[in-house]
Subunit: 132 residues, 2 copies
Amino acid sequence: MKTQAIGELSRKTGVHIETIRYYEREGILPTPMRSAAGRRIYSDKDVRRLNFIHKCRGLGFSLKEINSLLSLVDSGEFTCKEVHELTIHHAGQITEKIFNLKKMEGVLQEMAAQCNQGNVPKCPIIDSLFDA
Amino acid sequence: MKTQAIGELSRKTGVHIETIRYYEREGILPTPMRSAAGRRIYSDKDVRRLNFIHKCRGLGFSLKEINSLLSLVDSGEFTCKEVHELTIHHAGQITEKIFNLKKMEGVLQEMAAQCNQGNVPKCPIIDSLFDA
DNA sequence: CTTGCTTCTGTAGTAACTACAGGATACATA
DNA sequence: TATGTATCCTGTAGTTACTACAGAAGCAAG
């Protein structure tokens, strides 16, 4: 399938139609081609871009940060130094997020294991996690 | 230090004073003790809880989801089965987040490495990442 | 006792959606 | 070809999760 309407883009990505139009207004998605009757037409490139945006949002990045990540992709007007700095900055953020999620994952799995043995666990999340 | 005012809690956690009061209104933080003059007094338990909430927000969890995570900690009114189900659900979410972040991390590190060699990288994020 | 900092309540503004309303368009089928 | 239903359009208003003030009161040091 080559092109698609907004509804199919929404179905493929799990992003609401209204949100897609909102992203367009905000300049995060490019203004798409229109059909003769004025309907938005999207390509598979848009599907990939929107998937990327959607997952980033779910990972706690702001639209501003996502724009900055996407700028790495969109443009050749960046110097290598700028790309490098942005990349390192984002990579640092990401490493920290992974670290925190792994901590949570470990605690939750431990709790689930305790439950399997029939004990209501004395939940250790707050006491063992995120003290600073 | 045993107890503290809202300003110190804010400094320790990096959460704005207004946001702390907002969390109290929304029932995510318990209503704290008050001084004779009516000022909020917090304990180190509150520091830990707020740190947890703050990090969760940064990882893309909604306040509703955080409440559900905290319910694992707060209450003895849950059956083992309920705790287990909630735990498994959240652990699944977390594993997926880690998976996506690791993908991003890999791509960004590759880009940074290319930059180090003096090439502006033909950024592969969208093409290699998040196709579904 | 005054000067400066912190806290209080309350309201209003912002970011990122989300949910209609009211109307046009597309498309399958009788 | 008529018609019903699904999809799309623009525009506006509501929601979530903050964020920023205004104006008053408390507290701590000199």
